[in-house]
Symmetry: C2
Subunit: 315 residues, 2 copies
């Protein structure tokens, strides 16, 4: 089993990646604060490189590898932001990236990954095909596999987003992060533990993909079976490492309705003039459905990403 | 004729409004810089209060008036961002706002203005009806009329957006502002003159509403007759004051195609993850159509606003 990243490992990760990521802005919106009677701080990872926090973890892994470990390239399977992040991170080390994507992934996403210089290898849209295809690519190319979340170095990298919040904003009562595979949520929990121990950590999850909620409740990792949500970044199940961190250091996981996600997303677009993807809006949906819990509190929200197809908006 | 605002008047305006406006962020995008081989600095007035730079000028006027001048309220005619700005500025002084709007203005805009606490008075969608209705409102209510742009105090207020850019970014080769009635463009020109005299000022205008371009070329103010552009903030003609400032202090006005405006707008949404209205995207459209002119230059662009109907996007 992997060990949980230490405070020092998160600090080292931050040093390592600092020059290769954006220190994203933390925005506030007085009109949204007025609506909810609370004070919200939005960490804009939608403005991160590749448009998502995933760049933090991917660059932390890639920058910590030895030359000989990555001389034959790096590989992953992902149809989303992790794919783009690994592709861009590979360029930081002048090596190749091999991305296994389901053949059903939108052309626009395939092309985005190719745009970052990666080679896309298509597979069938099943977990089995993904894993088998990846295994083949790793064997044939000799590439180094970077798991999207169940990796201590990934968690340490994702933790730097919350670390930056705590460096700028004191005395947060809560910090809310979306939960998919749990890399961001567990990194956020560790940063709270190490850098702002009075801040409670909340995981935000769509009701239609509530495997993490059930996993923590029943103390066993459930697979994510036929998840139904617009939040396409939150479809995956927890890994062993992220499960253990979340179980111990996240106060609670709150699930939200699809309607709330869309309403929260539109509220962010209209009031803050920034573009976030549904998975990011899940954090504000938690506030929207639990107004009393957060009244007169100081709350940090991690807007995890901003990659949406502008031709297919949910309104 | 009104006098052109002095350096001191712009500095005083900035002091006056500082606590009532946002100091908006200046963003950069390495991917857009790479596309054009240039270095662009985007001043995000889309994130200004009411979602547009108009709050600067309106608050400068309202905050500089004596109690007895505004005790009976303030009034203007506008279907857009100036209406919202005047409404919010009235609240800063606890007075009423009366906004004359064409009855054809979208309900969503009428409601936004009412949401800021203003009384909306509908008129026919003609300039004549607007002016007559406004005159009646001013007479009946005793309200103070605030012109949307042809007013030295408005110009001084709008000038503070560019002033903030020059405070943070040195040695800009160009600064680009959209031209509608000319309040922002002339304010930008004056701030360049006073605070960054080596920076050339460019006005950006849609080809389908090129009255300012023709006015400067022929040295007479043309009315804006049947303008056809998606940039709905740039439909108005210059005023005498803004014409005189632009004639003297703007290097050139560059007109752009509708296609370029939409392409630039989408590029800003996709690459920068921020929401700008078409009128703001006109600035990047100038770069898009004149790549060589701006190659290897440092260019400031004023993203004037972010108020778009998310149900009616141009793609």
């Amino acid at each position: 089993m992997q060990t949980i990243p230490s405070k020092q490992e998160i600090e080292q990760a931050h040093e390592r990646i600092r020059d290769f990521i954006h220190r994203t802005p933390i925005l506030t919106s007085s009109s949204i604060n007025n609506i909810f009677g609370t004070t919200l701080f939005f960490k804009c990872e939608n403005m991160q490189r590749v448009g998502a926090f995933k760049m933090r973890g991917a660059s932390n892994v890639v920058l910590s590898l030895k030359d000989e470990e990555i001389s034959k390239g790096i590989a992953t399977h992902s149809s989303g932001n992790h794919a783009a992040a690994v592709s861009l991170a590979a360029r930081l080390r002048n090596t190749n990236a091999y991305i296994v994507m389901p053949r059903t992934a939108p052309k626009i996403k395939q092309n985005a990954v190719r745009g970052y210089g990666a080679e896309v290898i298509l597979c069938e849209p099943t977990l089995q095909s993904r894993e088998e295809t990846l295994k083949k690519v790793v064997e044939e190319k000799g590439a180094y596999f970077i798991h999207p979340y169940n990796d201590a170095r990934i968690v340490a990298g994702q933790a730097t987003a919350a670390k930056e919040i705590f460096e700028e904003i004191n005395d947060l009562d809560f910090i809310i992060a979306p939960v998919g595979g749990g890399g961001l949520a567990s990194g956020t929990a560790l940063s709270a533990l190490y850098f702002s121990s009075t801040t409670k950590v909340i995981g935000a999850e769509p009701k239609g993909a509530d495997d993490a909620f059930r996993s923590i409740r029943d103390n066993k990792i459930y697979p994510s079976v036929n998840p139904k949500t617009i939040a396409d970044g939150l479809l995956t199940q927890l890994g062993e490492l992220t499960f253990n961190i979340i179980k111990k250091h996240v106060s609670e996981i709150i699930t939200v309705e699809e309607d709330s996600i869309i309403k929260a997303m539109r509220m962010i677009w209209e009031r803050m003039k920034i573009i976030v993807e549904p998975s990011a809006a899940v954090t504000l949906a938690v506030i929207l459905e639990n107004k009393e819990k957060f009244a007169n509190k100081k709350v940090g929200l991690i807007l995890s990403g901003g990659n949406v197809d502008l031709d297919k908006l949910p309104w």
